[in-house]
């Protein structure tokens, strides 16, 4: 650990009680929507909540939140302070890259990760939710390797055969490294089908979120999202996660 930035990152997160990265090696299973709604529902329960978008080369939590990256403002105070969006402390690389394409090789991802986390002052938070990209590469390894002790990973999967293999591979990495797994969320699924899988992997089953056909029309509008069954289900899940039930 010869990178000075790695020394201050734990300090920047010292006031954060729980960090929940939302992961799945498979893309398109709902990580972005779920991480954003986990943050929003947690905040709606009165918890101090943060949301960090780590999908540097394809950031999209701002689209779910309805935030225009061209209007985000950088607030400097012994670092930078995440902006308050719908009550949550929100940080995405789009505050710097706007809507431009940002292809990054692994080395650049590592630098962006460390720089961003070294300068961001999260303050006091009950929970910080982190949206992660698909795959298992630099973003995930930086999180696990340097913040592993503080993490409780939320795994997202759909009941598709393409997604299930991915869950098994991800769970194997987490289990053998003794990382904490908060549980498995089953998305786009009207009935719970992955309880058995969770049981076999010995991870908590957090619940299933139904497939909602017209969800795309509601993305970007919190008031509309709040009225969907997805919100309701995520609220149940966040209650379970935060130990409220």
């Amino acid at each position: 650990m010869s990178d000075p930035r790695l020394l201050v990152i734990p300090k920047r997160l010292a006031g954060v009680k729980k960090i929940y990265p939302i992961m799945s090696s498979k893309g398109g299973v709902g990580k972005t929507i779920i991480s954003t709604l986990l943050a929003l529902t947690s905040s709606s329960l009165g918890c101090k909540t943060g949301l960090l978008d780590l999908d540097f080369t394809n950031p999209s939590t701002h689209i779910v939140l309805g935030v225009n990256p061209w209007e985000q403002e950088i607030i400097e105070e012994k670092g930078i302070i995440p902006q308050l969006v719908h009550g949550i402390k929100y940080l995405s690389i789009t505050i710097f890259t706007r809507e431009n394409p940002t292809p990054m090789r692994g080395e650049a991802v590592v630098n962006a990760f460390r720089e961003l986390l070294a300068i961001t002052q999260w303050g006091e938070l009950d929970s910080l939710f982190i949206d992660t990209p698909p795959g298992i590469s630099d973003e995930h390894l930086e999180l696990l390797t340097y913040l592993g002790d503080k993490l409780e990973v939320v795994i997202v999967a759909t009941p598709s055969p393409l997604a299930i293999k991915s869950v098994e591979r991800l769970a194997e990495i987490l289990l053998e490294g003794n990382y904490k797994i908060a549980g498995l969320v089953e998305n786009m699924s009207d009935k719970p089908k992955l309880q058995k899988l969770a049981e076999n992997l010995r991870i908590d089953y957090l619940g299933n979120i139904p497939y909602v056909k017209d969800i795309d029309e509601k993305i970007g509008n919190i008031e509309l999202l709040r009225k969907t069954p997805i919100w309701e289900k995520v609220l149940e899940i966040v209650n379970r996660l935060l130990g409220n039930k």
Partner: protein, 145 residues
Amino acid sequence: MFLIGVDEMVHEWALAESIADYIERELSKKGKKNIAKIVIKLGILQSIDKEILDFALKEIIKSRDYRVGEIVYEDEEVILKCRRCGYEWRINPSQLDEAIREAIHFVPEAVYSYFKCPRCGSRDFEIVRGRGVSIKEIILGDNNE
């Protein structure tokens, strides 16, 4: 520097703290309490405000249990090199649009969202040198104080 309230409160402070922590760790590894000299390289891509960084670093060090003799800053110019066509070029951040300069100031990798190779248009380029803050050298002092 962006929406600056008090000068010394800007984001250079966060970087100064990481340098101070690094020094502290190096000293504690060696069981020492002071360094004679530290050389800090400032890649100009990040447009670090040297005066502010220096002020912050000295303030932080004052509050710590060790001493630093001399702090030397060395600017490093930016060289970018395209992996696709091999073209090498320089950029001078002080000539950039303010918003772009600010973005790169906070996260130098934002360079990938605003620049492409002037010859072939590829965004697959390397920051050969001049990215940002790094510690080039630490010369330990003696321990007798």
